[in-house]
């Protein structure tokens, strides 16, 4: 158990970083996903095309490549910087950006399938009493759609949490240069080649601890907030 005493706190720190990546990416991908879904069902043709194009492009591009683009394209070429002085902070937010944008396309598609589950009469009634498109979506359709897609949304968030490991592509670290989980696991395996199985089990368990609650909460919430028809 030397491994735990030597690297225990570093492992915890790396999972803290992974958790922060997942937290911010989760929030931004949900917000961006709602915007994209709104684009895709909006009455303005140009917005529908933009939404469809963004979703199609990102869904068919590997996340590794998206990460690659945020670092080399956005940051190095276009000069997008979240922190000019602290490189680790800049890379963290670049990774959050890549994860959010990539995940938002999946959120968008889940929401769209949720909108399809709302009975026709709801939107028709909303139009009949004179609500506009945005009122209709905001007050009538989206609340019902959101409540019916809690489980698939949780699946997307779980996949996103696991995808934070891909942030190793652009090297996300804490202020003390501790890597996020995948980079940390790689470094530990390189140093302790006799304990590879143990290291893997620790990190596997760490991800289960991060993702299982999402599933449980979603299971409870989808019952609690189910739309009764």
């Amino acid at each position: 158990m030397d491994l735990i005493s030597e690297s225990g706190s570093a492992i915890l720190t790396s999972f803290g970083l992974t958790l922060r990546l997942a937290f911010f990416s989760g929030i931004f991908s949900l917000l961006l996903g709602v915007v994209l879904a709104t684009f895709r069902v909006s009455p303005v043709p140009v917005l529908r095309w933009v939404g469809a194009a963004v979703v199609y492009t990102l869904r068919n591009t590997p996340l590794t490549l998206v990460m690659f683009f945020t670092l080399f394209g956005l940051s190095y070429q276009l000069g997008v910087s979240f922190d000019k002085e602290l490189l680790y902070r800049n890379n963290f937010w670049l990774a959050v950006l890549a994860l959010s944008v990539y995940t938002s396309t999946f959120v968008c598609e889940v929401l769209r399938s949720g909108i399809n589950t709302v009975p026709l009469g709801q939107a028709e009634a909303a139009r009949a009493i004179g609500l506009t498109f945005t009122q209709n979506l905001r007050l009538i359709v989206l609340p019902q759609a959101l409540r019916s897609v809690i489980n698939p949304l949780a699946s997307v968030l779980i996949a996103m949490t696991k995808n934070t490991t891909v942030a190793v592509t652009i090297g996300v670290t804490t202020a003390t240069f501790v890597n996020e989980a995948s980079g940390q696991m790689k470094a530990l395996m390189e140093r302790n080649s006799d304990q590879i199985l143990l290291i893997f089990i620790i990190f596997a368990a760490g991800f289960m601890i991060l993702t299982l609650p999402i599933g449980f909460i979603a299971g409870w919430a989808s019952k609690r907030f189910a739309v009764i028809r």
Binding site: V41, P43, V44, V46, L47, R48, V50, Y56, T57, R59, N60, T61, P62, L63, T64, L65, F68, F72, G73, Q77, L78, G79, F106, E109, V110, S113, I115, N116, T117, V118, P119, L120, A123, R127, F133, N136, L137, N151, P152, S155, V156, I158, A159, K162, N163, T165, V166, A181, S182, M185, M189, S193, D194, I196, F200, A204, F207, M208, T211, G215
Partner: protein, 294 residues
């Protein structure tokens, strides 16, 4: 409910407003495109000598084709193994014997819960202690197999469970053994029904081969760095590779749609035909389906 149910057919004022919104959206798009264009321009990304390499057959022979072969061979081997893994564990999990179904369930749930990149890294580092030659190809392929195979196992299982009960009951009634019922009645129909969803998962698998980049497996993404080393054209190379990925996935997507349309038309299954993006399938495959990964 189709999107148009959300709003009335626009009248004269609505049409005018939509035009205004469209113009604003187009202007915003053009503005963003202009920023990207001019920034890339100021760093010389549009210079001809960064792009002309892609017009020469040597660039393709030396960089892109080898990368494509790396990506496609990992995809092909990974896909075959994942489908086989999926079948074995779907049948295992559906087994009437708890000694088979419980371990199968544990394996499937475990591999679906772990990030694929960690699996690949684990297999990569585990080869040497096991006395094997370290092969990054097999690390990538086995990682792809374990994760996608587990997702496919759930897809196939969902397909079997969605078949009407009468199918297996009829099989049992004419004296087939449980294994025969599975092999000759349930699986063939479940696979036909779930083929579009299976192919959709293969799109995920294809995208996930890109994780090999992190392990320095010589696939398409790694060729970006090699191209950059030779022609100093990182951004053009990355754009070309992105286009190749989108093209490959589009082809697979078209196959999935074709198969789905054909299955709906021809039938040969008593089950509901799974859609490539069916929300029910997403729920059934829980953590896996949506994007799975990279």
């Amino acid at each position: 409910m189709s999107a148009s149910v959300l709003y009335d057919a626009p009248g004269p004022r609505g049409k005018a407003l939509n035009l205004v919104y469209s113009a604003v959206a187009l202007a915003a798009l053009a503005w963003v495109a202009w920023i990207v264009y001019s920034k890339f321009d100021s760093t010389g990304q549009w210079e001809a000598d960064k792009w002309t390499p892609f017009l020469e057959s040597q660039t393709w022979e030396n960089f892109l084709i080898p990368g494509l072969i790396g990506t496609l061979s990992a995809f092909a081997v990974g896909a075959v193994l994942a489908v086989a893994f999926g079948f074995v564990f779907a049948v295992g999990r559906l087994s009437q014997s708890r000694f088979i179904s419980v371990p199968s369930a544990v394996v499937v749930e475990f591999f679906r819960a772990i990030p694929m990149l960690l699996l690949m890294m684990f297999i990569y580092f585990m080869q040497q202690p096991l006395g094997l030659d370290t092969s990054v190809f097999w690390a990538v392929v086995l990682g792809l197999m374990l994760y996608n195979g587990s997702v496919l196992a759930e897809v196939i299982r969902a397909g079997v469970n969605a078949l009407p009960k009468g199918q297996s009951e009829a099989g049992v009634a004419i004296g087939l053994s449980p294994g025969q019922v599975m092999r000759t009645i349930l699986l063939p129909q479940a696979v036909r029904a779930m083929l579009p969803a299976i192919i959709a998962q293969l799109v995920v698998l294809l995208k996930d081969t890109a994780l090999g980049y992190i392990l320095a497996y010589s696939e398409l993404l790694n060729q970006i760095n090699k191209l950059d080393g030779n022609f100093d054209n990182l951004i053009p190379a990355a754009l070309v590779v992105a286009l190749i990925y989108i093209a490959l996935n589009t082809i697979l997507g078209l196959v999935a749609n074709f198969v789905e349309a054909r299955t709906r038309r021809v039938g040969h299954t008593a089950g509901p035909v799974g859609h490539a993006e069916d929300p029910n399938v997403q729920t059934a495959t829980a953590a896996g389906m949506p994007g799975g990964n990279a």
